[in-house]
């Protein structure tokens, strides 16, 4: 069996090799992320059968848990690791031609560090280790947001940095409290001992940790940085920030709330928070005239929907939430990637400047349309089974409060449909200034076609993924088997 540590070690090592490779051969630099992420993707696929049988627990340095640091590769962690490598691979193929100007070497280095941090967060079984990987993720994304070095980029990067640093500070205080109470940092060990202390003492550390992670995952009152950062970053980075970074933050919140603390009284609060995030995000997106800000606000809305689905904590809704998460990674990635070249071609981020793009860039416009339809949840795209599972699973709970919240979910889908169809109308049914046809470069087209095929394939045959997601959801909810497999 291959060792899952390589999922973290290979991109991390290659990230610091990038300057050396660049001094040896300038042309090779761009292909380093592609190679590293392809390796990760193949490794993830090879690990699937073993992980479905039994979660793999790796003790780093040979210390048995609860001592030392361990990696926990369960279905959920592997799902995220695979998603990170797949989305990272597609976006790195896209950036082969998209990233031409500026400090290219630093871009590829930071890009790989960002993905290393994300992979580390989803695989680690140790709270402080989670914090460290989280900081790797955050610091590289602060720097990448400012990649262009223009006014908007620097300003939003500073905003993101200040809010993110305060957030990680809160997370660290929470971890300090937990260590003070339990004397251990191993997540499984804490999860086992959580019942031995009074619930009221756990309140402060839990709120601190959720607030700290909530900044990165853009849960409602903490999401002021997101629209600025996502809209002023390069489009390839926006795709990764929207598709990977905030979802990894959400994974960390879910892991801590469900597996480590597992206090079910608070789940309804998270469901309300999710709905609030969903409505605020979608309504703000509706009001935008800048396409990248619109997509950024729509990401906030989707995060709210996924949080709502996870907070209902039944197998059906969590499976649906994870399905929606996979769909969001693919379709928001596709939307940002296609919007990137449309903006490049029209020279403006205003939606009105995209008039008539359907004739000038047919394939890119088609990619945008597929992404938008999938995000709204139309069949036969990947968004449909996700939303269907969430809504049907929530209605199965049969509680009045949840039914009202489901009504709000459907309402927000209508809002979402409205603003996406407005853009699609501009693309196809409005006349622009008649320029000649010019497609995006071949690498960008390859990336977009790959994502389109994935979205349609998942929409037509959802069972392919749903079975795996179902075991991932029991990985998240079944606290006892998590504890049992780490502390044998």
């Amino acid at each position: 069996m291959v060792n899952p540590v390589l999922l973290i070690a290979v991109p991390l090592g290659l990230a610091f090799m990038v300057p050396l490779i660049d001094s040896a051969s300038r042309k090779l630099t761009r292909f380093v992320p592609v190679a590293a992420l392809l390796f990760n993707l193949i490794l993830c696929i090879r690990l699937i059968p073993a992980v479905l049988e039994n979660p793999i627990v790796i003790n780093l340095g040979g210390f048995t848990p609860p001592f030392g640091i361990n990696l926990f590769v369960g279905p959920l962690g592997l799902l995220f690791a695979g998603l990170i490598s797949l989305a990272g691979l597609v976006v790195s193929i896209y950036s082969l031609s998209y990233i031409k100007n500026g400090p290219v070497v630093k871009y590829h280095m930071l890009y790989m560090l960002l993905l290393t941090g994300a992979t580390g967060v989803v695989l680690t079984g140790d709270l402080f280790n989670l914090f460290v990987f989280f900081e790797i993720l955050c610091i590289s994304s602060y720097a990448l947001v400012a990649y262009h070095g223009d006014r908007a980029g620097i300003e939003s990067s500073i905003k993101y940095l200040i809010q993110g640093t305060v957030g990680s500070g809160l997370l660290l205080i929470g971890i300090g409290f937990i260590y003070g109470i339990f004397g251990t940092l191993n997540m499984a060990d804490i999860a086992m001992k959580i019942a031995t202390v009074e619930q009221s003492t756990l309140f402060v550390p839990m709120i601190l940790m959720v607030a700290g992670l909530g900044v990165e995952s853009a849960i409602f009152p903490l999401n002021a940085w997101l629209p600025d950062a996502h809209s002023s970053a390069p489009s390839s980075i926006s795709a990764i920030l929207s598709g990977i970074a905030i979802e990894v933050g959400l994974y960390a919140v879910a892991r801590i709330v469900f597996t480590v603390f597992g206090i079910s009284d608070i789940y309804l609060f998270f469901a309300f928070l999710g709905i609030l995030t969903l409505l605020i995000g979608e309504m703000c997106a509706f009001a935008q005239s800048n396409i990248k800000r619109m997509l950024a606000y729509s990401s906030i809305g989707q995060i709210g929907l996924i949080l709502f689905a996870l907070a209902l904590a039944t197998n059906n809704t969590v499976t649906g939430g994870l399905f929606q998460l996979v769909n969001h990674t693919f379709s928001k990635g596709l939307l940002f990637l296609s919007a990137g070249y449309m903006i490049y071609r029209s020279g403006s981020m205003e939606i009105s400047s995209l008039n008539g793009m359907g004739k000038r860039m047919p394939l890119t416009s088609l990619a945008f349309t597929v992404g938008a339809f999938s995000l709204v949840g139309l069949p036969p795209f990947a968004g449909f089974p996700g939303k269907f599972l969430i809504v049907s699973g929530a209605l199965l709970k049969g509680e009045m409060v949840i039914n009202i919240l489901v009504g709000l979910v459907l309402l927000s889908t209508v809002i979402e449909g409205t603003y996406f169809f407005r853009v699609i109308q501009a693309l196809y049914f409005k006349d622009g200034n008649g320029e000649q046809r010019k497609q995006a470069p071949a690498t960008a087209v390859t990336a977009m076609i790959a994502l389109m095929i994935l979205i349609v394939a998942l929409g037509v045959y959802p069972k392919f993924l749903a079975d795996f997601l179902s075991s991932a959801s029991s990985d998240l909810l079944d606290k006892m088997s998590y504890v049992g497999s780490v502390l044998k």
């Binding site: 402080f128 223009d150 500073i158 940095l161 300090g176 002023s232």
Partner: protein, 119 residues
Amino acid sequence: MSFLQNNIYYIGAFGLIMIGLLTVLVKHNLIKVIIGLSIMDTGINLFLIAIGYLRNGTAPIFSSPEVESILMVDPVPQALVLTAIVIGVAVLALALSLAIRLYKHFGTLDLHKIKELKW
């Protein structure tokens, strides 16, 4: 009085964290905000150290046979703080370099005058 004596490190640590947070929230100058972040980091590090600290404790090294493990200071928080300091330095360096670029673009560090992006 004994409450103060027993918890003086925690009080100091949270005092620093609050001072840092307040600086981040109310100051308009970017450099002062970054200093606030740094003070907050220091407070957090002090808090982590205080968790594992033992009055009259010894270093967690078995240097001679008569050293008892019950008197040792917990080494784990110190390892954590070492990592946290390094991370703090990296964030601070990035923040300051961004502040330099911000000043080049806007000619000011006053955060109230830099308001191009909004809701």
